[in-house]
């Protein structure tokens, strides 16, 4: 899970002290995070806490095909920002590795803990995926609040990253909070996409509009929130097949997460 100090060359070729290597398993692949710097102990401890659902106890047989992520921290006051940026770098690295393999949506997802039936809620950043994940994940299994990776067969490869919770004071900083700390339900063995909804947060509190989309309308609503779509074989056909299978796709226009929580949970046979 965490190895001790060793020396590796940094990009300039000089030797740099790597205090800890954190191994993660997520989105169907493995990745190493190399924590360095004067506050590396603090950093790796915070990383282990935040990434508790992704810590890997396995030693990969061969080299990981995901390039390692470097996380450097000298000044302890920069911890929150370092964690936030490292989360983004990890997500980019995982997406890069799975490009051409998985259909990847910028979305949150929860799953029925017994049936594995899963709800995927597609939305741009800042429109409520994390808040909904936090609320839905108290009764349904938390799969991710950021990137849903879907196999050819419609299976979801969980990415139970820390939830990136925006601070209220508007600094732009997000706290990386472990799903364990939030008591979110762990992912089931084999989550499958069951329903897809497109979230639009443009209503006043208490107002919800649900609209069924045709497959073509759904495709255009979802396609902007895909990653590396062009790397897949016959990408539009693959996306349309998913939307067919998980239809009818709903556009959910809402104001507050509490307004739609029950409705969304009900789509996969859950309750909120």
């Amino acid at each position: 899970m965490v190895s001790g100090p060793n020396l590796v060359p940094d990009p300039s070729g000089s030797l740099h002290l790597v205090t800890h290597v954190l191994r993660l398993a997520a989105l169907g692949t493995h990745l190493e995070v190399k924590c360095t710097g004067e506050s590396a102990d603090l950093l790796v401890s915070a990383m282990r806490t935040a990434w508790s659902r992704c810590l890997s106890t396995e030693t990969p047989d061969g080299a990981s095909d995901t390039p390692p992520v470097d996380a450097h921290l000298d000044d302890p006051s920069g911890l929150t920002q370092r964690l936030m940026l490292t989360t983004q770098e990890i997500t980019r690295a995982l997406i890069g590795t799975q490009a051409g393999r998985l259909l990847m949506l910028h979305a949150g997802a929860v799953s029925h803990p017994e049936t594995g039936a899963s709800l995927v809620y597609v939305a741009p950043g800042g429109t409520g995926k994390t808040t909904l994940s936090q609320r839905l994940g108290r009764h349904l299994a938390y799969l991710t609040d950021e990137t849903v990776g879907i196999t050819d067969a419609g299976g979801i490869l969980p990415y139970p990253k820390p939830l990136s919770v925006r601070r209220v004071e508007g600094t732009g900083l997000k706290d990386e909070v472990s799903p364990d700390r939030l008591d979110l339900v762990p992912a089931p063995m084999a989550p499958q996409v069951s329903r897809v909804v497109v979230l639009v947060r443009d209503q006043p509190p208490g107002v919800v509009h649900l609209e069924e989309l045709t497959v073509m309308d759904a495709l255009f609503a979802v396609v902007e929130e895909t990653s590396s779509l062009s790397s897949l074989a016959r990408p539009l056909h693959r996306l349309a097949a998913l939307l067919d299978a998980a239809g009818p796709v709903l556009r959910v226009r809402y104001g507050e997460a509490s307004d739609v929580e029950s409705e969304l949970a009900g789509l996969i046979g859950g309750s909120a």
Binding site: T214, V215, M216, L219, F220, V223, L229, S230, R234, P235, L236, H237, A240
Partner: protein, 86 residues
């Protein structure tokens, strides 16, 4: 003028609508634009396209078939789906 389509990553048609993924962008084509795209695998004279479109869809209202074809072709060129060759 002759035109020829540029190869898309993927083309999907559903219920009379067509989506084209090209250069990482997905475009939604009308039925007429989709027909032009389908007819331009090889270099084709725009006048020939106009004839084929009129036989397929009939004459447009309020304009000539050639003007309507020119406008649709210009839009497809603008979005990078067709290239023109004089």
């Amino acid at each position: 003028m002759k035109v020829q389509r540029l190869e898309a990553t993927d083309v999907l048609t559903r219920d009379g609508e067509t989506a084209v993924l090209i250069d990482g962008v997905v475009l939604r084509l009308s039925e007429i634009s989709a027909e032009i795209y389908a007819l331009t695998e090889h270099l084709v004279e725009v006048s020939r396209l106009a004839t084929d479109l009129e036989s397929r869809f009939g004459a447009p209202e309020g304009t000539t078939t050639r003007q309507a074809t020119d406008a649709a072709v210009a839009e497809l060129i603008h979005h990078g789906l067709l290239r023109a060759s004089s």
